[in-house]
């Protein structure tokens, strides 16, 4: 089994967001914290909290929106620096690199020396990038966050963790431990040492590092299997009978066997997709577009074999002979959206490197170097993904191409007082699939809030189902709004089926023809008798209210309004509100 080095930058999104000194900072996606700066962690902010919970725990916290492209862009210089020492490295996602230790270790003179050197290079690259002029980490020392003993690491606000062990799983765990201890974690060679190292870890590492879902690890715990050694001690046949393939995979990992070799197939040499440009292309966007075509071709060819790509090489070349070549790894498999995202990350970083490129790009090539049986998306036999989910996923991708990526959205529950704010609409296309995004180590952080972005998976796969249950049910699973804690001031059910966006001005008058107003104390000037809308006046047959709503009264833009429900004599019900003497129709119960 290969000995692998895992280089992990904990909370990379926060680092990439440009955390200054020891300021508390959180990176937020879909109202959930996905990364925290060290100072934020000290204040008790954790990944998965809602934005306001994070603000409650740490009042001065700076909130930055999650931007995967920014993460990738700022990671590229680090990758470039490491690639000078280690030519063949794999990027799982920004902030996580894996490479074989054999060659580099011999070159550096041992694993420990290699680990230290890698840390030094990474920190240097990050600091150098800073001095080149990118906004960011600043010269204020953050103190002990750099793991390396080198001075640079002490000054820059980036933490680097290195784990060296046999197999991807053990290496990933070693990197986590390195992050906790603040020094590189090197596990001795040999299977016995690996098994020894793994034995004491709780089964939850399967979830955090190897992409198992929380339902599975939770089940193991409830059955009394708490540590990996207990799992490894069970007979494989029993595991297979009880847990199926998933269980066997976990068992293999727990027993110190890595999952990779047996699953992968040889890739036929003719399997690749490329575009040669007659006229050199200098902008990233057309290249990404070409990348999408390549990715679609490739994905189609690979899925026709019932496989999925797990390791992809993306190459690009300019007419001046400059080249970029990166290996991207994703244990759950790379689909079109994820491939395209990788293309964008890589090209963006390459084109924007200091000094820029001398020429335009003339060649773009995507080559899968490792494919495996696509077991994750077979039609639902054990109640997993269904054919319907697969079709929907395909149609969504297609519509994105037809109408633009933002045209197709999926609802994600957010909560709020106004019916129009209950749900956020999140673009469904061009987001990585939830079960391909999470990768070893940072999986937890990436998962939360993302599952619903790709409904095809949200509905079916066990992985995202568990994500939904884990992230306390709200942001990730729209259907779970009912289980969410009540929202004070929320409209009672039934909810209006037709919203007016924006609210429609109207006139509500009492019997005397005077506009109905509501006083500061919530007293109404007269009973609503008529409703005029679009120059048409109808009688109000029944009404209820006023319900005062004060929103954000603590800031200048706050609103005070009084809400009513009005039913016309035709039986049509409206949700209306009066604000500063002006009536608005917010919604209709159609």
């Amino acid at each position: 089994m290969p000995r692998l080095v895992t280089l992990w930058f904990p909370q990379w999104s926060a680092v990439a967001a440009g955390v200054q000194g020891d300021e508390p900072l959180v990176v937020v996606h879909a109202n959930r914290v996905v990364a925290v700066s060290p100072a934020g962690e000290v204040a008790g902010v954790q990944i998965g909290l809602r934005r306001r919970e994070a603000q409650a725990r740490c009042s001065g916290v700076r909130i930055v929106h999650h931007d995967p492209d920014r993460d990738a862009r700022r990671f590229e210089p680090v990758v470039r620096a490491i690639a000078e020492l280690v030519p063949s490295l794999e990027i799982t996602e920004p902030g996580l690199i894996t490479f074989a230790s054999r060659g580099p270790s011999r070159y550096a003179g041992g694993d420990v020396v290699l680990a230290e050197r890698v840390v030094a290079i990474a920190v240097q690259a990050f600091a150098g990038q800073d001095s080149v002029g990118q906004a960011g980490v600043g010269q204020h020392g953050v103190g002990q966050h750099g793991v390396g003993q080198h001075g640079v690491g002490q000054r820059v606000g980036v933490r680097v963790a290195v784990g060296i062990a046999e197999g991807r799983f053990a290496s990933g765990i070693a990197a986590r431990r390195s992050a906790l201890r603040g020094e590189p974690c090197v596990i001795a060679a040999g299977r016995a040492a690996t098994v020894d190292f793994l034995a004491r870890f709780p089964v939850d590492v399967l979830r955090d590092v190897a992409g198992f879902d929380a339902d599975f690890t939770g089940l193991l715990r409830r059955l009394g299997i708490v540590r990996l050694e207990q799992l490894a001690a069970l007979p494989a046949t029993d595991i297979l009978a009880r847990f199926g393939n998933n269980g066997i995979r976990a068992h293999r990992l727990a027993s110190g066997d890595d999952e990779r070799p047996p699953e992968t197939h040889p890739v036929p040499p003719e399997l690749f997709a490329e575009r040669v440009f007659e006229d050199a292309v200098a902008q990233v966007e057309p290249l990404v577009f070409a990348g999408r075509q390549c990715a679609e071709e490739l994905h189609q060819a690979i899925t026709a074999r019932g496989s999925i790509c797990v390791r992809l090489v993306i190459e690009a070349e300019t007419d001046d002979g400059e080249r970029t070549e990166r290996v991207w790894y994703q244990p759950a498999g790379l689909r079109v959206a994820t491939m395209v995202e990788r293309v964008r990350w890589q090209l963006d970083g390459w084109v924007r490197q200091p000094g820029g490129l001398n020429g335009g790009v003339v060649l773009l090539r995507l080559t899968p170097v490792e494919i495996k049986a696509d077991d994750g998306r077979q039609l639902g036999f054990w109640g997993g993904r269904t054919q319907a989910d697969e079709w929907a996923q395909r149609a969504i991708t297609r519509l994105g191409g037809l109408l633009g990526p933002d045209a197709v959205t999926v609802p994600v529950w957010r909560g709020g007082r106004e019916p129009s704010r209950h749900y956020d609409l999140i673009p469904a296309v061009d987001r990585p699939d939830p079960d391909t995004v999470p990768s070893p180590v940072t999986k937890r952080s990436k998962r939360i809030g993302t599952p619903a972005t790709t409904p095809g998976v949200a509905a079916g796969s066990a992985a995202s189902r568990s994500a939904a249950s884990r992230s306390a049910a709200s942001a990730s699973a729209p259907g779970q709004a009912a289980n969410d804690p009540p929202w004070p001031g929320q409209l009672p059910k039934p909810s209006p089926s037709q919203l007016f966006l924006p609210a429609e001005a109207c006139i509500v008058e009492d019997d005397g023809g005077r506009t109905v107003t509501v006083s500061g104390r919530g007293f109404i000037s007269g009973a609503p008798a008529t409703l005029s809308r679009n120059q048409r006046r109808v009688r109000v047959a029944a009404w209820a209210g006023p319900w005062p709503i004060e929103e954000r009264w603590w800031e200048a833009g706050g609103r005070r309004r009084a809400r009513f429900q009005l039913v016309t004599e035709e039986g049509v019900a409206y949700l209306a509100a009066v604000e500063a003497g002006q009536w608005w129709l917010d919604a209709m119960y159609a």
Partner: protein
Amino acid sequence: MARAGVSLDDAVRERFRPTVMAHEQVLPALEVLADLLPGRGLQRGSVIATRGPAAMSIGLALMAGASAAGSWLGVVGLPSIGLSAVSELGIALERVFLVAAPPPQRWAETVAAVADGAELVLARVPAQLRASDMRRVQSRLSTRGTVLVLAGLDEQAGIQPDLVVGTAAPQWEGINDGQGRLLARQVQIEVGGRRAGRPLRRLLWLPASDGSISAVTTITASRPTSASGGGDLLEQAG
């Protein structure tokens, strides 16, 4: 390549048509609505128009059964739909995607693409829709076995829905002069259209005070009701 696949698919379908069970040609509907529908469900490939003051609610209610059974719903060109209501009427929001209103000349293409991926499509028809576009959509619907619901569709040239579900005489319960709140609604439902038999009428709670969709019992229905005086009615319905 893709085109060849479709025609092969069609050939296979043609060959095996006699063995397709009747229940496979309909998508399930809620029990209370099934009695009103030909085939006790939503006929695959059909176009259903809903009308009247509760057009949106009944449209969603019609699809609730199929959505709960695992079908996807694609919503085209209805950005102001109340998603809370969608969820309350029984649609599984985790199997819903919304598509922004396409330009009128691409409406047919868009709806056809949505129909490829979702068994239920809820859409609003643009004002000037060519009959040829509608035919194109209908042929795609029948190939894929998708049901298209046009909520709030008034009479429009070129569109002949297979089923027209009208709503009339809505009466709200629970709300009074300044008191209470909207709680439940009675609606008269009438199912007609070229695929329906003789028109069927029924009085429904849409929704009832517990949020469900149920038939109004005959006792309640026969008694004259007013929008404002529903206290005892609620007890009977609940």
